[in-house]
């Protein structure tokens, strides 16, 4: 397809990277990434994917912008209060980069609609805030054989892994939703806004690496960090033959919506242990 003169200039810092070059930039311009949740993780993901020139960005979120979101959901501005998040995010993406086509889905990902959404994209970013949605995204991506980035944050901690068909999935690590009552809510526990930015940009780098085919993805590895200690740790994980969705005899063969309080987290004493 070839880059225009202004595209060559806009993406010059990508193009001079040996691993990306014109070819990689063209892959990005032809790439399609779905961001589920345009909040703390989805905001930086959307901004950096847009700036990077990812040609098609899908946004899925049924929420509107709330004052308490603005501490970390950096794609939304004060004048956007009460607006649908996908509308607010789409507007910013268009302003950053007119090369990008945005598909806005002003609804939450559910068992009935998620497969149709993920099928349209090359890569999926999980920017959701709750266990049911995270497991739904995992199950849908395993079933659709779609690579995706799992991300979770709480307080000063973040965790992420990248799934690709054949590698360990989220349920290989965490078989099922944690029992209720082991987990207070996110609004009770809080989260440092910058931690959302740190994790969301890691997820974005994974999406860009996948599309351009460079580097090593966080496959069969889980990255966790604690911003207080500013320690990063990668734990190698192995596909679990007993995994309920990708194991040898999967028990989850169709998608369903799970019930759990929104925005759960697990209290722990030793964040890096």
């Amino acid at each position: 397809m070839g880059l225009s003169e202004s595209q060559t200039e806009r993406y010059s810092r990508h193009i001079i990277l040996k691993d990306i070059g014109v070819e990689g930039q063209e892959k990005l311009l032809n790439g399609k990434v779905l961001i589920i949740g345009t909040g703390g993780l989805g905001s930086p993901a959307a901004l950096y994917l847009a700036a990077a020139g990812v040609g098609t960005i899908g946004l899925v979120d049924g929420d509107t912008v709330d004052l308490s979101n603005l501490q970390r959901q950096i794609i939304h501005f004060t004048p956007d209060l009460e607006r649908p998040k996908v509308e607010s995010a789409a507007e910013k993406i268009n302003q950053i980069n007119p090369d990008v086509t945005v598909n806005s889905h002003n609804k939450f990902a559910k068992a009935e609609n998620i497969l149709g959404l993920v099928m349209e994209y090359d890569f999926v970013i999980d920017g959701t805030d709750n266990f049911p949605a995270k497991f739904l995204i995992n199950d849908a991506c395993v079933m659709a054989e779609k690579p995706y980035s799992h991300g979770g944050i709480l307080k000063f901690d973040g965790q992420t892994l990248t799934y690709k068909p054949g590698s360990a999935c989220l349920r290989c690590v965490f078989e099922d939703l944690p029992p209720k009552n082991t987990v207070p809510t996110c609004s009770q526990a809080g989260v440092l806004g910058a931690v959302a930015g740190m994790l969301g940009t890691i997820q974005t780098a994974e999406a860009i690496k996948y599309i351009t085919g460079v580097g090593n993805l966080l496959e069969n590895r889980m990255l966790t960090f604690n911003a207080l200690a500013m320690e990063f740790m990668t734990i190698n994980i192995k596909r679990n033959s007993g995994c309920p969705v990708c194991g040898t005899t999967p028990v989850i063969t169709e998608l369903q919506d799970y019930e759990q309080p929104v925005c759960d987290l697990i209290q722990k004493k030793n964040p890096m242990e």
Binding site: G37, G42, G127, D129, F131, L154, A196, M233, L265, Q267
Partner: protein, 70 residues
Amino acid sequence: MKLLINGKTEPLKQTCISVSELLQVKNVEHPEAVSVQVNKEFVSRTDFDSTLLNDNDEVDFLYFMGGGTY
């Protein structure tokens, strides 16, 4: 005995310890919500009591972080 817990060598007074006991010793608050790998293999939750750890075993605790803050 010594265990390699999440990449760090940790000495323990015990000479023999199960996964369940280790979760207690390490003060893990919600062991029912933690996944455990021993020598890079996941241990099923139902086997936490019966799985005994040996000197120099690698143990990984993985905590689920559910937030993403829509």
